[in-house]
């Protein structure tokens, strides 16, 4: 938590991966470090393979926050801080689970994969899958659906950069210029009409960034404006409709739309044995019955589900991710490792016969 792994700060994030690598290597895991551009990925597996049976997936990067949020503070049985829920608690849980299995690690077939760009460009998992690193049966991702509910479905997401080019002019004669700020404001105003509600089960628009105009000069009509639009959609059909409508509005204002990140809406097979097994271990440890939850954010789960790989997505008890009051329940934090070890013991343990065979013909 004390490492300020703000997304996009690759140096710090890669140092955090070093920290995790040392911990896992000491406990007998095989280490593989990938690097895509400057973005590192850590893969640690119980066996020397690209395709473990189960993969515990996480991201160490967090969204930006004031410095004080990188010091954990405890109050009323809750821990507060940036990333405490999203999702350093999950990674810590994976690490403790490995520690608890140390000495028996060769009896299991699982891996841990940590990326550093989930909150930003979100290519880490995609690139690893493309390079052949993925689980054969299930991915576990403690990155969604609050309070140990398992994600049953997730919205689609379309993150797009909107750019407007205009022409400069003097602020006193705006009719002689082509104000990029005015066109951007007109575009955003009209776009907003496509999102009449701002509620969980609707399409939503978050204008997460805008930049137009010079820092100090006020008497110049801006010739450039840029905005980032974080759009969440209830279905893939809705995504197509919104894209078409947004495109028309963009054309009207001569705005260029560039897709930055895109996730399809997903539905999980809740009858998958890994789903039911994980839910059992949640209940055993916490007494919480997971009924299957619709999750409104998106995660790397979509990348696995798209390939037909089961992905169990949940969060411990907590809230406020990306807000100034991100928190996790301390008891829930303690519950992570037992749930993981219980699940791995049931679903990722290698049969003794296979172990013997693997010693004869190592993969």
């Amino acid at each position: 938590m004390a490492i300020p792994t703000v997304t996009g700060h690759q140096l710090v994030n890669n140092e955090a991966l070093d920290f995790i690598e040392d911990y896992l290597a000491e406990r007998g895991l095989h280490i593989y470090r990938a690097r895509h551009d400057d973005f590192g990925v850590l893969l640690a597996t119980t066996r020397p393979t690209k395709t473990p049976k189960v993969l515990l997936v996480g991201h160490i990067d967090v969204v930006a926050a004031p410095a004080h949020q990188f010091t954990v503070r405890e109050k009323d049985d809750k821990l507060y801080g940036r990333g405490v829920l999203d999702m350093k608690s999950g990674i810590a849980g994976y690490m403790v689970a490995v520690d608890q299995l140390a000495g028996y690690i060769a009896d299991y077939d699982f891996g841990i994969m940590i990326t550093i760009d989930e909150e930003g460009r979100n290519l880490g998992v995609q690139k690893m899958i493309a390079d052949g690193y993925y689980p054969t049966e299930a991915a576990i991702l403690l990155d969604g659906a609050y309070d140990w509910q398992i994600e049953a479905a997730a919205k689609a997401a379309w993150c797009v950069t909107a750019k407007v080019k205009g022409t400069n002019g003097h602020g006193s004669r705006p009719w002689q210029a082509d104000s990029a700020s005015m066109r951007m404001i007109g575009f955003l105003h009209e776009l907003q009409q496509l999102f009449p509600e701002n509620a969980p089960n609707t399409n939503t628009l978050n204008i997460s960034y805008i930049g137009t105009g010079a820092k100090e000069v006020l008497n110049q009509v801006p010739n450039f404006a840029q905005a980032t639009l974080d759009i969440r959609l209830i279905s893939n059909a809705a995504c197509d409709d919104i894209k078409q409508a947004a495109g028309k509005i963009a054309k009207k204002y001569d705005v260029e739309l560039i897709t930055a990140v895109e996730f399809k809406a997903i539905e999980h097979d809740m009858t998958n044995p890994h789903m039911t097994a994980f839910a059992r271990h949640i209940k055993k440890q916490t007494r919480v019955t997971s009924k299957g939850d619709i999750w409104y954010a998106v995660s790397d789960a979509a990348r696995y589900v798209e390939r037909g790989i089961a992905c169990i997505v949940t969060y411990p008890k907590g809230g406020g991710h990306h807000s100034d009051d991100e928190w996790i329940d301390t008891q829930s934090l303690d519950d992570i490792a037992p749930i993981i070890t219980g699940y791995l013991h049931e679903m990722a343990k290698v049969p003794q016969r296979a172990l013997v065979e693997s010693q004869i013909q190592p993969r």
Binding site: G169, P174, W175, S208, I210, N219, S323
Partner: protein, 385 residues
Amino acid sequence: MTQEQLIEKTKELVAIESTVHNKPALHDAVNLVADYVAQYEGITIERFEKDDTPSFLAYAGPKRPEMFDLLFNAHVDVVPGHPEDFSPRVEDGKLYGRGVYDMKMAALIMADVFCQTAGTSPVAIGLQIVSDEEVGGYNGVRYQLDRGVRAKFTITGEMTDLEICNEARGLCWVEVAFTGVRAHGGHAWEGDNAVTKAAHFAQAVLQKFPLPKKREWTTTANIAALTTSNETYNQVPKEATLKIDFRFPAEEPVFTNRETVEAFIKSIDPTAEIVAMPVFEQAVHVPKVNPDLKKFMRAFTNVTGTDAILSHRHAGSDARHFATKGIPCIEFGLSGKHLHGDNEHVNLESVGPYRAVLESFLHEYTISSSKTRGHTNGHRAPISK
């Protein structure tokens, strides 16, 4: 100075990237004009500086007059441009470059006319060169006025395309902050988006003051900047800042005073926080009956053979600082195009008439003054030190 010499000197001045934060360049630009004036004997250059922003006041004789009869005013700071904008060039009878139109060339013409006249004229003429007009003029003209500089009549060389501007819109710069609540972008309803608030506000302002399609004597709002520090795509931003550049005619009730502006902002969004109103300047108006304005109009007619046209200008300028001190100030500048934009230029054919009008006005002013004071005017030959 011949026209060729003037063009070369202007190129030299335009090549200095004298934008607001480039303090060394501001000094260089002011010094270039001061050095030119200093070639003439009997001229005093009184330097001013506030917050590393230089300016000077030039006059004949060792002592600054308590009240100048006439004051020429010009600025040599410019708005930012592309690197090539600072490599001036002449093409098809036009001189291109950042600040050539606004208003480095006029500054040099005024300086030259001043140098040719000031030493021998019975009229107390001053030349004022400043370097912060583009950012409000508080460290230049306002500072000099606060230090007691006064004049009966002022001409500033802002670009007017050879029209005589006796009215200018008022200027109000407002910085408004919006505060929201951070949240995950996928849970937008748990947050409160500050950028959305700011964009709604801007839209409301533009509905109240729609952008005219052509030049119109009305209130305009330039959305000069809209920013947030948040760069995380999936986070609801907590803060946003909006900067608006308002220009308004004297009759606009929203801009009666600072309080009415604040009330207008709160009427759109009561949660909007006015962080700063760095500039609030009333509109400028010099009545037609002003005797010096009449003389200037006569001089214009004498030179051009056409009736002088009075116009109003849409930009605020340092003229408003004179107006607040009760000093009549007209704007009279060269012809050109693309003020603050790409391909800013001056039409060189306007240089001759421009200079001639200034000289004719000084001549007329001197004659009428001599009649009153019993002095005669003698044209002063340039004397290099």
